[in-house]
């Protein structure tokens, strides 16, 4: 699709052109990548905000969860506790029933390996 951009800041245009040349891509491809990154960053910010709210709600209820929901999955969405479930599938269904597209899920009392060693060979972040 053809799009005409009028009134673009000349210095910005020059910088964009130089950067695109340096990366070996066309100006239109560079613009496309910039727009995509901008849209993705907005979506990501919204998702991060929700994650933050879910984590805060989880932290607040942790003592209560440990007492009442041992060995069960607890589900948080939209910054609130949605309920508990026996299985991961039920936990998914619970989040879905609350119109959530993403949720925080924790199995109370389950031991999660903390991490471990990551040798040099494959590290490329």
């Amino acid at each position: 699709m053809d799009v005409i951009v009028r009134g673009m800041d000349e210095r910005l245009h020059r910088k964009l052109k130089a950067e695109a040349a340096m990366r070996g891509i066309s100006l239109s491809r560079a613009l496309e990548q910039a727009v995509r990154a901008w849209l993705d960053s907005r979506q990501e910010k919204a998702a991060l905000d929700e994650n933050e709210a879910n984590n805060i709600a989880y932290e607040r209820m942790k003592d209560q969860l440990n007492r009442k929901y041992r060995d069960r999955y607890v589900v948080f969405g939209g910054g609130r506790f949605l309920g508990s479930a026996d299985t991961l599938e039920q936990a998914g269904a619970l989040a879905r029933a609350n119109a959530e597209r993403k949720a925080l899920v924790a199995k109370i009392g389950a031991k999660r390996p903390a991490g471990g060693e990551w040798l040099w060979s494959s590290l490329e972040l």
């Binding site: 991961l88 993403k102 390996p113 040798l119 494959s122 590290l123």
Partner: protein, 142 residues
Amino acid sequence: MELLRAVGCLQYGGPDPESPVLEVRAKESLLGREKTITAPIDTGFAGYLLVPRDLYAELGTMELPREDFGIYSTMAGSVTLRRAEVKISVGDKELDTFIETPLHGTGRMLLGRRILSELDLALLGRNRMCCHLRSVRKLKTT
């Protein structure tokens, strides 16, 4: 002793020298989204299935609390990976496990030791094939 049979083999992939890879089907339980991934196996990575950020955005719908994220020690310092519940299948083997992606950075595709230790695999290096094995029968040892 045990007799094992190769039930699925995949040609090595990636840049020279090629790496052994496995085909993994990963499914998240919230929206039922499913992806088939070809991931290099990495015995140097202690974790689960590492995926790039964009794939994590699709499959990481049931994320663990921050306190359960994995922290990995590398030669360059520690790296924190976000973690989400998924079901994966490799050949006929199904596992409840996790996908991971870096908290910062784009990430990449890797199958780590916590999944590899659940699988029986054979590397046929000269043929550049990575095979998934299934037990045929137990053999008596004398």
